[in-house]
Symmetry: C2
Subunit: 250 residues, 2 copies
């Protein structure tokens, strides 16, 4: 059998399954932040050979909470579990689901039907998550996804749909949450030095902090526990190593 025909049949079947099991008009997208080599990165998936990238995402089953759907999709795409997820934005523009790059690409490949399916009106509920890059194993056996990329948030490639806007909203939410919630938690490997923590803050806020004042502020918050010293074999005082204190059960 013609493999392409076979493929279209598979699509037809999955489309039927979609109708049965998934909520129509809705999807979730997750902005996965990581911190690696002093850069704040975002996980992106490359769409075919278009040169365009997109955020990981997926659909919502009829019997699961929207939050659960976000967690499940995250697990399916990256093998991550027990991750802090925060719902920060709804992408609800009527025109957002049609991207000429996607339509063009699919038509060129003969996927007229899939094209119209993927271009259906769709509202996306957007989450952000914070992860250690090394613990993420992106799943690439997904149609049209050719590779993945941890992209520096200050230097994003071209993105499909309104995903650039979504990432901007995610970053500003991350900034306003950074001080309150214990977000650094997921982004830094313990133990870490005060300097490590400061560099993370600087990557997130995209500005410099005064060292001594940053240290004072962090120590005063009573969230760090000193667990030793780090001897780097370099000619200076060894910095303390820290872990985050366990959050009190309240």
């Amino acid at each position: 059998m013609d493999p392409e025909k076979n493929h279209e049949i598979n699509i037809k079947q999955s489309e039927d399954r979609f109708r049965e099991n998934l909520l129509p008009s809705l999807s979730v997208n997750t902005v996965l932040f990581s911190y690696h080599q002093e850069r704040l990165n975002v996980l992106l998936l490359k769409f075919g050979d278009t040169g365009y990238f997109m955020l990981p995402g997926g659909f919502i089953r009829r019997d699961e909470d929207v939050d659960e759907a976000a967690l499940r999709n995250l697990k399916e795409l990256t093998a991550l579990e027990n991750i802090y997820l925060e719902q920060f934005y709804v992408a609800g523009n009527a025109e957002r689901s049609t991207d000429p790059v996607v339509v063009e690409f699919l038509k060129k490949q003969g996927y007229e039907k899939i094209s119209s399916w993927l271009s259906q009106r769709n509202v996306s509920i957007c989450y952000l998550a914070l992860v250690n890059e090394k613990k993420v194993k992106p799943e690439l056996n997904v149609q049209f996804i050719s590779r993945y990329l941890w992209a520096d948030v200050t230097n994003l490639p071209p993105l499909l749909f309104d995903h650039t806007t979504i990432i901007e909203k995610a970053l500003s939410r991350l900034q306003s949450d950074m001080d309150q919630k214990l977000l650094s938690n997921n982004l830094l490997n313990e133990p870490f030095t005060m300097s490590d923590l400061q560099k993370l803050y600087e990557a997130v806020f995209q500005k410099k902090f005064t060292r001594s004042n940053f240290q004072r502020k962090m120590l005063k918050r009573d969230i760090l526990a000193r667990v030793g010293k780090k001897y780097e074999g370099r000619a200076h005082k060894a910095p303390y190593l820290y872990r985050f204190k366990k959050v009190k059960a309240s």
Copy 2:
């Protein structure tokens, strides 16, 4: 013709229209705050004779933005236009759409079909808005809505679905936005005195502020313009009257 049969046909027609024109699985709800007689209130609609209330809401047309849908529904239900609306929460629990009170009520009245329709899985995108109670003309020609109520947020009646949770989330968002965005704007009639403004803040934050410090804080923000004095015919110094300064076009 039997009026109830006739009614069911109307429902059938509107259900068909629903399928054609509206996004399935999705709705919007709006928490409409007002400030009246030193109380922070929320607009609620009474569901039949059940003793239960609900938030105003509606559906999203296939060709309109989610934000537009929220504005349109608000206009249809209250005749309000050009209102500050903020998306603050997504109610996405799988079980949220089924409320035994609603099911019971509709069955009792013989509306089996409508009951199952209204109980379909539904994700609600929630907005908050701030309005002058006197400018709101709630529309009561809506099926099952018997009356409306401006309910004190500190003393809510029983609510259907997860609407109590939604209002709690709305209040905490209102509190965190109060200082940044010029929200008082929509809640106070201009001109107002400093004491009026303070009472509004006290209703929103549900706590008292020290008068002199509140005044200092507000004056320093450079958002108020003095426009005269208020002679109340009472034995004390006349307070200044204020308006909000026009926001600079930036």
